[in-house]
Amino acid sequence: MNRRELLAAGGAALMSFGYMGRLYAAPAGGPRFLLVFLRGGYDATNLLIPYSSSFYYEARPNIAIARPDPASNTSALALTADWALHPAVRDTLGALYLQRQAAFVPFAGTDDLTRSHFETQDSIELGQPLQGARNFRSGFLGRLAQSLAGQPAAAPPISFTDSLPLAFEGAAMVPNLSLKNVGKPPFDERQAAILRDMYAGHHLESAVGSGLELRQEVALEIADEMQAANRSAINTKGFELEAERMGRLMRDKYRIGFIDVGGWDTHVGEGGAQGTLATNLANLGRGLQVFSQSLGTEWANTVVVVLSEFGRTFRENGNRGTDHGHGTVYWVLGGSISGGVIAGEQQPVSRASLFQDRDYPVLNDYRGVLGGLFRSLWGLSKDQSARVFRDVPPLDLKLV
């Protein structure tokens, strides 16, 4: 939905608020979706540990996570007879899993075999067939927002990033703003109007309008936050603070969100129960927990998917790290999902089942996994689903 459509939809009530007014909140209820993109190819094998595989322990002499042991808090947290969770997310993701609000999809990923971060991130965000010409102006979240626009269940999109990700290309207008550092709104109503008029008819018109508007909106949200902070004991910072703000914006208005988190390319010294990967996972886990809390009752209507462009080599490399791999593990979180399961097609983890004797195979295509969730969340028709991912049909993982 672009700004003009918003104005038309909001009608007179919105107009009277004018630029300085807060945009109307979306009605309560209705599905919400957040995509968390871990850029750099996170080491899924040390997040969801195949602890029943002796080959895992052979292949990772220095960085493997110890088998589940209730007496040790640096050991993995058993989820099933085969799979366990990294201890750094025991209290966050682990807790959500036990409440059936988290599920993991191993052997997930893409058919892109370049093992290049950039190529694979792009191809996933575009969500188009690898063969043939690709349209860089069309990302899968953009197509999702487009296919929902104009319906009663229209889903305003937002990207919590400094720049607009490829995934959102093609939607009429997607506002974006990193919530790391935001201050007072910079322009008054008259100045904002002049700036907008300068871009009237220009192809950046809606970006300019929406950017000025969102700054205003978020400034008001932050003002609320400062007031709330005086009353609550929660002292969040870093990603947790961002996640809390994201949660409130998605609770009040936006329905499709995107954020990316970097720092996962652990070629050297990735660590085991402690270390680089553990720290990153712990931060992310805490942030997602805060996100779920700040959505309040709308957490029950929300689904979060955490994914990465690829997994990493099953064996550790010569530098106690891991190199670019193939299959990975996706996370699905949500207040009312049928979680507490390891979902999707699977196979035993052994040397023989590795792809190219190197990494996890992909048995659950990202388009199938995401397309299936979108279909269930919004009740998409076959045509709508095909518009989002044209070459892979939705996969029903029975999570939503």
Partner: protein, 521 residues
């Protein structure tokens, strides 16, 4: 008051302010020139101004005067030849005063390594924390010095095209300051690996980056040793630096190149003791090291060519082989055209640039010449959105027109705010150079805020080193002779209308810098 009346009063106020600025600081060199030459030459076209804005980091009076004197082709050849990189004396003095202008990064690296060791051996506690903090601040200071020098040169150097190419290549061979000890090395990386080759031979450039500790630390090749293969650098060397992702190499080629690159690493300490037959093959230059004891001497096959195991010679052979691939000529030409011409540059132009690249064995200046004088280049003028660096540098060039600033830190803050912080790209692909990546809604409003910061003169560009405001503040004079000569005649009607609605000079400046006219070239 009617709008028109307001505008006239405002013009009068502008003139007064300008007169004051001239007296107090000698700011604008433009208005100080004789009025007789003030009228634009009849032949100054919109495309001249746009062309000039692309070759340089943005308009200033001196550049425009040189263009008018020399004409397009001679102007270009002066920029491409051995350009005069002279800086205003106060800027030279600022750069001379930096530590990075004098010290040796090898000694720093050795000191940092020693300090890391000391800190590791210290017991937990406030002393250890203090030592870590001191070391960290030292790194930040040296990285800032490198950024500061680069920004000052970008704004003030007469060799504007070289400065743009330094930025282009720094981004092409991107390194991230917060990995390993890179903050101690980035200044040297720019100075010795990038700058000397920015307009020279592409192969020399690749080899210079390959032999720089900053790149070897960033892409982990110092850990790539025989029996402990790390293919990170090998992959990016082909994917990002030379051939492009579809450049015709395979996973097998990546693994073979990784073997070729074994033993290429960093050493800031003593030369290792090797057996005599290996000692002959040892290479050392500064903190760069090729250690044959870590090299895999097997025979390799790269891009269907056999490379016999011989030592460092393999690396030179491999780079020569790679940069002579037609895929490399195409990829590099496409990248350059993507930055200077259009997000999707005309394929025929890229093909001609590739032809020049092949014919000249990768002579960068020759490729640029083909591009800047092409018909397609002229046809694409006006449609390229400025990336944050070009926006920020061009705004300061235009606003202060040669007047030396004393504090470039606001420029760094603006670049960080717009998402293009120097040495700030975590991933090795460098910042993308398409409008798509810089003109989202959030970035546009951020850009307008920066336009206001520059336009209102509130940023502190003339503060002294210690952060105290020293020079008389005031705001820049954007409505100056340069504006009336090269900007005003070509302004869009909507921009003119917006400028007419400004209620102060600061606001007028803000609108001009925020306008589509200023943000496209």
């Amino acid at each position: 008051m009617s709008q028109r009346g307001g505008r006239l009063m405002y013009r009068a106020a502008l003139a007064a302010v300008c007169a004051w600025l001239l007296v107090s600081s000698g700011c604008a060199s433009g208005p100080a020139r004789p009025a007789a030459s003030a009228a634009p030459l009849p032949n100054l076209q919109r495309n001249d101004v746009l062309w000039l804005q692309r070759v340089t980091f943005g308009l200033d009076s001196a550049t425009l005067a040189e263009y008018r004197r020399e004409g397009r082709e001679r102007f270009l050849d002066r920029q491409l030849g051995a350009p005069d990189g002279a800086l205003p004396p106060p800027i030279t003095a600022q750069i001379q005063a930096l530590e990075i202008s004098h010290a040796d990064p090898v000694s720093w690296l050795a000191a940092v390594n020693a300090e890391h060791k000391t800190i590791n051996d210290m017991p937990d506690g406030p002393d250890r924390e203090q030592a870590k903090k001191t070391l960290n601040e030292r790194g930040n200071q040296l990285a800032y010095e490198a950024i500061r020098r680069d920004l000052l040169r970008a704004v003030y150097s007469k060799a504007q095209l070289r400065e743009q190419m330094v930025w282009f290549w720094l981004n092409h061979f991107s390194v991230y300051q917060h990995k390993a000890e890179l903050r101690w090395l980035v200044g040297d990386y720019e100075e010795r690996a990038i700058r000397p080759y920015a307009l020279g031979s592409f192969k020399d450039l690749v080899l210079a980056t390959l032999e720089h500790p900053a790149m070897l630390q960033y892409l982990d090749n110092r850990q790539n040793t025989a029996g402990h293969i790390n293919e990170n650098y090998a992959r990016e060397l082909m994917e990002l630096h030379t051939l492009g992702v579809n450049g015709g190499y395979t996973q097998q080629d990546v693994q073979q190149l990784a073997l070729i690159l074994t033993g290429v690493g960093v050493n800031a300490g003593n030369t290792p003791r090797l057996k005599p037959d290996l000692q002959r093959l040892y290479v050392r230059s500064g903190a760069f090291e090729f250690n044959p004891a870590h090299h895999d001497f097997s025979r390799k096959t790269l891009l269907q060519h056999t490379i016999e195991g011989s030592g460092f010679g393999e690396i030179e052979d491999a780079v020569t082989l790679i940069v002579r691939q037609p895929a490399c000529a195409r990829f590099i030409s496409r990248q350059i055209a993507g930055y200077f011409v259009a997000d999707n540059p005309p394929p025929l132009l890229v093909e001609r640039m590739s032809g020049t690249f092949m014919r000249t064995d990768g002579n960068i200046a020759a490729v640029l010449r083909t591009m800047f004088l092409a018909r397609e280049f002229d046809a694409a003028l006006g449609g390229k959105f400025k990336d944050p660096k070009r926006f920020v540098v061009s705004a300061v060039r235009f606003a202060y027109d040669g007047r030396p600033i004393t504090n470039p830190r606001p420029l760094l803050n603006w670049l960080n705010g717009l998402g293009e912080g120097p040495y700030g790209r975590q991933t090795p692909d460098g910042y993308p150079q398409t409008e798509l990546n810089w003109a989202s809604s959030g970035q546009m409003s951020r850009r307008f805020e920066i336009a206001r910061s520059i336009g209102s003169g509130s940023a502190g560009l003339f503060d002294s080193e210690d952060g105290a405001a020293s020079a008389p503040g005031g705001f820049p004079q954007l409505s100056n002779r340069l504006y009336f000569e090269a900007v005003e005649p070509f302004l869009a009607a909507r921009t003119k209308a917006a400028l007419d609605r400004a209620t102060s000079a600061q606001e007028w400046n803000t609108f001009l810098l925020a306008s589509p006219d200023f943000n496209y070239l």
